[in-house]
């Protein structure tokens, strides 16, 4: 047998790798999980913090000895704000990595690209972003908040403090359109009136004419469901047109993409938001979590966003379910999650709602000011009432669709 230089180097490397294998983990192959998020492109303001958080969550779990004594390996894919890449990576990871669970999707359109793929390949799927609600699919768990949890609280608060006439500006895809329908519904529930709704494609950057239209309509407050880096210009132009402070603005998307960090405070001070998680939450659990996160990513980390917290909570729930089931197999883990499993997360208690596969969480109305989100009002343990009204996976486990609000 001849040993070439190449094979010698190869086997030496393999031997070295063998000796360096982590010894903290008792036995068994590593557990593979996948994440697909927009780590670059126009939606990276949302995706990058989520990517960092997945890394943090996996490292934290591995430091505790992994799961079931096995190391967790994260396969991370960058969909580059491109839904075609979502489809490609979803198939690739489901077929070749065979992950125990996949955490994927920023926009609702990307979710609807990957969800059928994971359903078909029997791959457990967590969608971790706040969204318009209504997805009913036993293979899918949603850990982001939905309109009944946040939009309703924010509309109620705004109608109470600002007045009954609202003007809605929203991103032009399924999230913006369905969310604006919910804003309409909650406004009407409050005896209010929607003056107009305007939709903007994700690449629109010039809002001058729309701001004039808003002035002509003269609403009591503006509700924004604008999404992405381009739409950030709206807030800037709103200030430049002298509207900041004249007409209050409420949004369930502002700050989700760190708008309150990227924009100078004098361009947004006073905007109202409603989120599951705020980095400023005073609880001890959160303070410890923020300290640990900053230790890994640095004190100057811009802000731990609500979207990234959704991913963290999804990971915690999945890990708890795996511990409870004693296996990473899909059905036992789903059944463990369906026992109404709950975890103590930095945002408060997070419980899986078995009927909808959504979560019951605390939500917080807050005011954006000087790069902080200051808590105004807390609503404890809000159920996903919107999805619960239409979706019952206990009765119909084979249901597989997204219900849409009908006005």
């Amino acid at each position: 047998m001849t040993i070439s230089r190449r094979t010698l180097l190869g086997s030496a490397a393999a031997a070295a790798a063998l000796f360096q294998a982590p010894r903290a983990f008792a036995a068994g192959d590593p557990i593979v999980i996948s994440s697909i998020y927009d780590l670059s492109g126009g939606l990276d303001v949302y995706g990058k913090p989520v990517g960092d958080m997945m890394e943090f969550a996996v490292a934290e779990q591995n430091a505790k000895g992994g799961l079931l004594g096995r190391e967790i390996i994260l396969k991370s894919y960058d969909a580059q704000s491109n839904n075609q890449l979502y489809a490609q990576y979803a198939k690739q990871t489901a077929l070749s990595d065979k992950p125990a669970a996949v955490f994927a999707g920023i926009t609702s359109s990307s979710r609807e690209v990957v969800r059928p793929i994971f359903k078909k390949t029997n791959t457990l799927y967590f969608y971790t972003t706040q969204y318009e609600g209504g997805v009913c699919d036993r293979n899918h768990f949603s850990t982001g908040v939905t309109p009944a949890q946040t939009v309703q609280k924010l509309v109620n608060h705004s109608v109470k403090t600002a007045g009954k006439k609202v003007y809605i500006v929203a991103a032009d895809y399924n999230y913006g359109q369905i969310t604006s329908d919910w804003v309409k519904k909650f406004t009407l529930d409050n005896g209010g009136e929607v003056l107009d709704v305007e939709f903007f494609p994700l690449d629109v950057t010039d809002f001058g004419s729309s701001i004039s239209k808003i002035q002509a309509a003269n609403p009591d407050f503006v509700y924004s469901a604008l999404v992405g880096g381009a739409h950030m210009s709206f807030y800037r132009q709103w200030k430049a047109a002298g509207m900041l402070g004249k007409i209050p603005l409420s949004s369930t998307t502002f700050a989700g993409g760190n708008e309150h960090i990227a924009l100078p405070p004098e361009e947004y001070n006073g905007h109202l938001v409603c989120q599951n998680y705020l980095q400023e939450l005073p609880s001890e659990r959160n303070q410890q979590f923020v300290a640990a996160f900053h230790k890994k990513f640095g004190e100057d980390y811009p802000y731990i966003t609500e979207l990234s917290m959704g991913a963290y909570q999804a990971f915690l729930l999945w890990a708890a379910a795996v511990e409870q089931a004693g296996t990473i197999d899909r059905m036992p883990v789903i059944e463990a999650l369906e026992t109404g499993i709950s975890v103590d997360a930095p945002s408060g208690k997070v419980t899986v709602d078995p009927a909808t596969h959504h979560t019951i969480v605390d939500v917080h109305v807050a005011e954006a000011r000087d790069r902080k989100l200051n808590l105004i009002e807390k609503f404890e343990q809000q159920p996903p009432a919107d999805t619960a009204a239409v979706c019952d996976l206990i009765k119909n486990p084979d249901d597989n669709q997204q219900y849409v609000i009908e006005l």
């Binding site: 670059s40 126009g42 939709f199 690449d203 002035q215 381009a230 950030m232 210009s233 430049a240």
Partner: protein, 289 residues
């Protein structure tokens, strides 16, 4: 009445934005018949020069917009002309491919340097009150800047030796060379001028839209549509096309929605090119520059 006035201002602002994003491309295409696919990236660079000049280097924002950005981007343009474009004159498809490559490289480089996140800068101008409405003071700056650029370019081409030489080179570069001119230098300067104008446009728009390395893409389509529809003459064509498209898109944005506004712009461009294949100045204002 106030609302009519505010609409008029928005329409003028929209026309000014089209002029600012397309005039650099018009100069390069009209004078040199080079299709510069990296034009959007020149706009993006202008925005970044302004933002970093102001936020990091602490320079005056007006100095950054009006002097630093066009200067820096113009020099980059001259450098790229010397490195790449000059080798490809007369080979239109090759130039497109090469400048497209430049565009991808600049986007990649800027993403590496500054990250793929939207950054911005606020306008120092206060809002302006028009009756019961208020609008951004920056719109007025954009309108004024577009007018100054148009007048300045017309003067440059009509009144200076460089303008004369540039126009002569456009018509017959060999003859200019035989008469003792230097077409190489003219081309380099014209390309630099186009880049500088793109940089100026990007700098002026930075406070409105914010900047991200990939923002060029959202400008380049509109810039091309404006230039192609304008036709062969640089200034008259650009004014005509910008006015037409700016008015149409804003009017439809008001009456309907921003989406319909964009659609109306594109549909009118398709119809226009079908009726006037050589652009507006292929039929009207032929004698203009």
């Amino acid at each position: 009445m106030d609302f009519g006035l505010i609409i008029a201002i928005e329409i003028l602002g929209s026309i000014a934005i089209l002029v600012l994003i397309s005039i650099g491309l018009a100069v390069v295409f009209g004078m040199m018949k080079v299709i510069n696919m990296a034009h959007g990236e020149f706009i993006m660079l202008g925005g970044y020069v302004t933002i970093y000049g102001t936020n990091v280097a602490g320079l005056n924002i007006w100095f950054c917009i009006l002097v630093l950005a066009p200067l820096v981007v113009g020099l980059i343009g001259i450098l790229l002309e010397w490195l790449v474009v000059r080798h490809l004159y007369g080979r239109m498809i090759d130039t497109m491919l090469a400048t497209w490559g430049i565009s991808l490289a600049i986007v990649g480089l800027m993403t590496m340097l500054v990250g793929n996140t939207t950054t911005g800068i606020s306008t120092p101008l206060p809002s302006v009150q028009v009756g019961s409405f208020s609008t951004s003071g920056h719109s007025f700056f954009l309108i004024a800047l577009a007018v100054v650029i148009i007048v300045g370019l017309a003067a440059l081409f009509k009144l200076t030796t460089f303008g004369l030489m540039a126009r002569a080179t456009t018509q017959n570069a060999d003859m200019v060379a035989k008469l003792g001119g230097n077409p190489r230098r003219i081309y380099a300067l014209t390309f630099g001028l186009g880049a500088a104008l793109a940089g100026l446009g990007g700098a002026a728009l930075a406070p409105v839209t914010g900047v991200i390395p990939t923002i060029g893409v959202s400008y380049i389509a509109k810039a091309f549509i404006t230039v192609i529809s304008g036709g062969g003459t640089v200034i008259a064509g650009n004014i005509a096309a910008s006015t037409l498209f700016g008015t149409i898109s804003q009017a439809f944005t008001y009456w309907y929605t921003p989406i319909i506004g964009e659609v109306a712009l594109l549909v009118s461009a398709v119809i226009l090119i079908r009726i006037l294949p050589k652009g507006i100045t292929g039929r009207f204002f032929k004698k203009a520059i």
